[in-house]
Amino acid sequence: MTAGLIAFWILAVMAVGSAVGVVLRRNPIHSALFLVVHLATLAAFFLKMRAEFLATAQVIVYAGAIAVLFVFAIMVLIPGREESGPDRLRAQRLLAVPVAGLLFVLLAVMLRSTLFSGAAAPAAVPGGVDAIGRALFTDYLFPFEVTSVLLLVALVGVMALAKRRTA
């Protein structure tokens, strides 16, 4: 077993464990902290796959911005009493587990058919700022510009939604 494979399994256990932690913890703050761990392990996976730019962007955007936003929202919303009380949809929730299992089987069948056909892997592509910037500003120029409009719309929309009505 090579060092790369050992690192993969350690990171995989961390990623799955923290994802399960997000889903299972009752306190939303604990879930948010598990989410940070999960996002960090994904950044490590990106580094392992030589996607250096994405690893950096993952840490800045997810661990920096999105996780802080989640923690702020939890602080504003006073956690702790939202999942108490009788569960009216308990039967549906129990049904969710076999449904998720079915989804996994479907995904596994679909991915098997795509992965084990075709030629072996070519040499890894470098994923530094150079390569990804070249792709973004040539082949993906129009989507890139649309993304800037999307972010502007989100910014204005959030301000409109979060504003206190003074009337």
Binding site: A15, V23, R50, A73, L107, L115, V125, D139
Partner: protein, 100 residues
């Protein structure tokens, strides 16, 4: 060098965990975090497939997913805060106003 199949399999597992979180939890914040897990699982698959085919396109797509996720979280959390101001409670089961 870890084979791409391992990464894609891991991303399938993470996606299913996220889907399960969306289905079983009642707190909209945790549902949002589960959606983030699903988005990240898709990102992992994108990068793994991009590496397998020797192409940068997978990484470019992940960049766009990151942008959309940031916008989605900002708008979604604003909506949750607005709902909480209106109802003083936070459970997706009670938000059945639009039920036919």
């Amino acid at each position: 060098m870890v084979p791409a199949a391992y990464y894609v399999g891991l991303s399938a597992v993470l996606f299913v965990i996220g889907a399960l979180g969306v289905l079983v939890r009642r707190n909209p914040l945790i549902i949002f975090m589960s959606i983030e897990i699903m988005l990240n699982a898709a990102n992992l698959a994108f990068v793994a497939f991009g590496q397998r085919h020797g192409s940068i396109d997978g990484q470019a797509l992940v960049f766009f997913v990151l942008c959309v996720a940031a916008a989605e979280v900002a708008v979604g959390l604003a909506i949750i805060v607005a709902i909480f101001r209106l109802r003083r409670r936070l459970s997706v089961d009670e938000l059945s106003l639009m039920r036919g």
